[in-house]
């Protein structure tokens, strides 16, 4: 049955969502277990596939059995149906997305019950649909199918954000406009590729695009490429399309933010990588001498801007949102360095950052659950109230800063190495700057949360009662934080067995 595993990854959350939607009307208590089950199945399949792919290479799956068919007028066979592919480029991401989604689903239960009391009928279903959409974007081998999955993820995230009431409606609306613009640009880009390539299958496109370019560069393919990249940038909140993200994720309910923030942007980055590396090729990217520097400058700008604004914010969620914006800059920059360490860094950071952001939002969620809000000034004494949460928070921040041996250190390592190899020093400077800014913020929080209150252990000082988040939230948070260290220690294995093989063959030493 292992050949059916790729589709199981998608079907798990998809069917779970439908069942959860039924259960919402009959036995509301059942909808959450359905979703957990679906995500667990999906995670198990994804995990199994990691090993299968590491051993046996890419796994292709043809929906409806419509695979390679010989077409009389063409020399080579084409895939006439829709293909989904699990290969070295996406297998880690699939495991990360489904794993993080599973943990977040366990974690979010309590939050949903309190924050959204009485309104959560479709929350679980939308949650599972979002995950199905994200997994679909990551797994599909068909550029149009990717668009449909993109819309599935987008529509469910609009709804998940709008659960936040108040300002979240406008935030969600802005996201909808930007997101639809991104999706439309992407769709238009598909049109431009389709008009030259005549197929939508990614593998087939990667085979024929070089032949189309044989007689000189094709303007249509170039325009299509630019449109798709712009569309992906809008989706991932890359500078200068980042405007929607901070409000959307800040005013969303914590439960929604904790699944959206780590996964949505990462998956969009993956889509960009897939288009850049598989549909087009590394040589094509390196041939775009006009665009490459622009993309790199924009990445630097994203990192600098994200860092700067995170310093000026006083709300913990807002700070975290600006972190996301600068982290997106890391990955786009790494991808556009288009050399071996840069791409390795971008691919590794894809997984590492998903885990880091997830841990960060989980920790923030625990704080919000107990303290009601996350203004910096409210954090006084939080280290005594919630020691475990804050320990996880500190580990996560250390990872974001890039303290070894957490995973953040290694992604930064590869990215800086790539930038140094390409001689893009402004990118190096931006990476270091963002590390420093995060360090400043971490220690500002430590000062407020730990040092600004009279130490309760000293006689005469008021005691600060322990008020830790419930275990169902605490355990996923702690697990995620430990995962960051584990991921860091496993870097070499991941890079050697999987990421190195995802790199384009042209970069092999």
């Amino acid at each position: 049955m292992t050949e059916q595993l790729p589709i199981v990854i998608i079907l798990g959350p998809l069917l779970a969502a439908v069942l959860a939607a039924f259960a919402g009307w009959f036995r509301p208590k059942l909808s959450h277990p359905f979703v957990l089950l679906g995500l667990a199945v999906s995670f198990a399949a994804a995990l199994k596939l990691v090993f299968i792919v590491a051993d046996g290479g890419a796994q292709k799956y043809w929906l409806g059995g419509w695979g390679d068919k010989v077409i009389p007028s063409q020399k080579e066979p084409f895939v006439v149906g829709i293909q989904i592919t699990v290969d070295h480029l996406n297998t880690l991401l699939l495991a990360a997305v489904s794993g993080i989604a599973l943990l977040t689903a366990i974690y979010a239960k309590r939050l949903v019950d309190t924050e959204l009391a009485g309104r959560q009928r479709y929350f679980d279903a939308l949650f599972a649909l979002l995950v199905a959409g994200l997994l679909g974007i990551s797994i599909t081998g068909d550029i149009f199918n990717l668009y449909v999955f993109m819309e599935i993820a987008a529509l469910s995230s609009y709804a998940l954000i709008a659960y936040g009431k108040g300002r979240s409606y406008m935030a969600s609306f802005n996201y909808l406009i930007m997101g639809t613009m991104g999706a439309c640009l992407y769709l238009l880009g598909i049109g431009f590729i389709f008009i030259k390539g005549g197929t939508l299958n990614i593998d087939d496109l990667s085979r024929i695009i070089p032949t189309l370019q044989a007689n000189g560069p094709s303007q249509a393919l170039f325009v299509g490429f630019v449109l798709i990249i712009l569309g992906a940038w809008a989706k991932m909140a890359f500078f200068p399309f980042h405007g929607w993200l901070p409000n959307a994720y800040t005013y969303a309910p914590t439960a929604s933010a904790s699944v959206l923030a780590p996964l949505a942007t990462k998956v969009a980055v993956y889509a960009m990588l897939r288009i850049m590396l598989t549909v087009y090729s590394i040589d094509y990217i390196n041939g775009l001498t006009g665009i490459q520097p622009i993309a790199l400058y924009l990445s630097t700008a994203a990192i600098v801007m994200g860092s700067f604004f995170s310093l000026t914010q006083t709300n913990l969620k807002m700070i975290a949102c600006y972190f996301i914006i600068s982290e997106v800059g890391y990955m786009v920059g790494g991808a556009w360095l288009a050399n071996k360490p840069g791409l390795t860094g971008a691919m590794y950071h894809l997984v590492a950052d998903a885990a880091m952001t997830s841990a960060l939002f989980m920790a923030i969620g625990c704080i919000v659950y107990r303290l009601g809000q996350a203004q910096l000034d409210d954090l006084k004494g939080v280290f005594f109230k919630m020691p475990v949460t804050m320990a996880a928070f500190v580990v996560t921040m250390a990872a974001l800063i890039g303290v070894p041996p957490t995973c953040g250190f290694f992604s930064k390592w590869y990215l800086i190495q790539g930038a140094a190899q390409a001689g893009v020093w402004h990118f190096v400077a931006a990476l270091l700057l963002s590390s420093l800014v995060k360090a400043i913020i971490l220690f500002r929080i430590i000062e407020i949360g730990y040092n600004r209150v009279p130490h309760p252990a000293i006689e005469g000082n008021p005691a600060i009662p322990r008020n830790e988040a419930p275990l169902s939230m605490l355990i996923p948070t702690a697990a995620m934080a430990l995962g960051l260290v584990a991921l860091g220690l496993g870097t070499s294995t991941l890079v050697n067995t999987i990421i190195a093989k995802a790199l384009p063959a042209a970069l092999a030493p």
Partner: protein, 330 residues
């Protein structure tokens, strides 16, 4: 057409803008029909010109049609205008690289498409190529598309309905302009006319779904028409009349069951030992050979699509028209 687009954007009254937009969509579907894309035109007529316009109108009905224009902001608009013009020029720069318009040997028409045209009959016994490609060759897309409709439906329900159901008591305090009370006797003619029309519409829609194999149409088109018939019912009578027949709960359950039917058919193929959505493998439980099984599979999923689309459209309309209160509205 460009003119219509511009007018609908420049009209100061939103209601007018919506109506002009409807006219624009209608023109668009004529053009598509002219290009041989009958199914697309069909759908656009029902969705773009019909349902979309009704959605916009009912939103406006619930809020306000007047647009407050404010001074200033011209520089911003101009700036965006420049950016957009540049983008347009960039898009047009690829024109020289395009194959000629209507060239049957362009890559789009000559790469994978001939396979569908030549093999559809042998593979599926379905002469309507659009249906066979839609529900079989690219059936996964269609499953997901149905899911999109389902998501939109539950998203709108979550945004409008659940919120409102909870805060029903504060509603009046918040000072929401309650919609003008509706007087059914105003439109006796409309009512009688629709009472006459609706059965025919529904009959036609069922035909569209069932006969989608042989003529333009299929789950989407049929579903949208069915939905539209109910929407018409709601408009000409009132929402309560509709809700007497279709309770909220059953509406929402039916929306989900359409997706479920589709996904379950796919899953059945997996259990029978094929790939997902490989209807051919169902020949052991469905009558006929593999190709016939595909044909039946297509019919099944089309019904699923129809159910979801129909009830989604109705549910979305009810939500939008009544601002989630499910009592009265447009």
């Amino acid at each position: 057409m460009v003119l219509f687009a511009l007018i609908s954007l420049s009209i100061q009254n939103l209601m007018g803008a919506a109506i002009v937009f409807g006219a624009y969509s209608f023109m668009m579907c004529l053009i598509w029909a002219g290009m041989g894309a009958v199914d697309v035109a069909f759908t656009e007529a029902a969705v773009g010109a019909g349902v979309s316009t009704v959605f916009i109108v009912s939103t406006i009905y619930n809020t306000s049609a007047t647009m407050r224009s404010r001074p200033g902001g011209m520089a911003f608009k101009f700036f965006i205008g420049v950016v957009v013009t540049l983008a347009g020029a960039f898009l047009l720069s690829a024109l020289t690289d395009f194959p000629d318009w209507g060239d049957p040997n362009s890559p789009v028409n000559a790469t994978v498409v001939p396979y569908y045209i030549e093999n559809s009959i042998d593979d599926t016994h379905v002469p309507n190529l659009v249906t066979s490609v839609l529900a079989d060759y690219r059936g996964f897309d269609t499953l997901l598309e149905t899911t999109v409709v389902f998501i939109a439906c539950i998203a709108i329900y979550s945004i409008l309905r659940i919120e409102t159901a909870k805060s029903k008591t504060d509603e009046t305090e918040e000072g929401i302009t309650s919609p003008p009370s509706y007087n059914p006797s105003d439109s006796l003619i409309v009512r009688q006319a629709s009472r006459f029309m609706i059965p025919f519409m529904q009959l036609f829609a069922l035909y569209v779904i069932a006969h989608g194999h042989y003529s333009p149409g299929g789950g989407f088109q049929g579903g949208v028409i069915l939905g539209a018939s109910l929407i018409l019912l709601a408009i000409s009578f009132d929402l309560k009349f509709l809700l007497r027949h279709w309770r909220e709960k059953s509406l929402m359950l039916l929306v989900a069951s359409g997706v479920f039917l589709y996904a379950a058919v796919g899953l059945a193929c997996v259990f029978m030992g094929g790939n997902y959505l490989e209807y051919g493998i169902l020949d052991s439980i469905l009558p006929g050979d593999q190709a016939m099984a595909r044909s039946h599979g297509i019919l099944l999923v089309e019904i699923g699509v129809g159910i979801t689309v129909m009830f989604s459209m109705v549910a979305i309309h009810i939500n939008l028209a009544s601002n989630g209160r499910f009592d009265r509205g447009l």
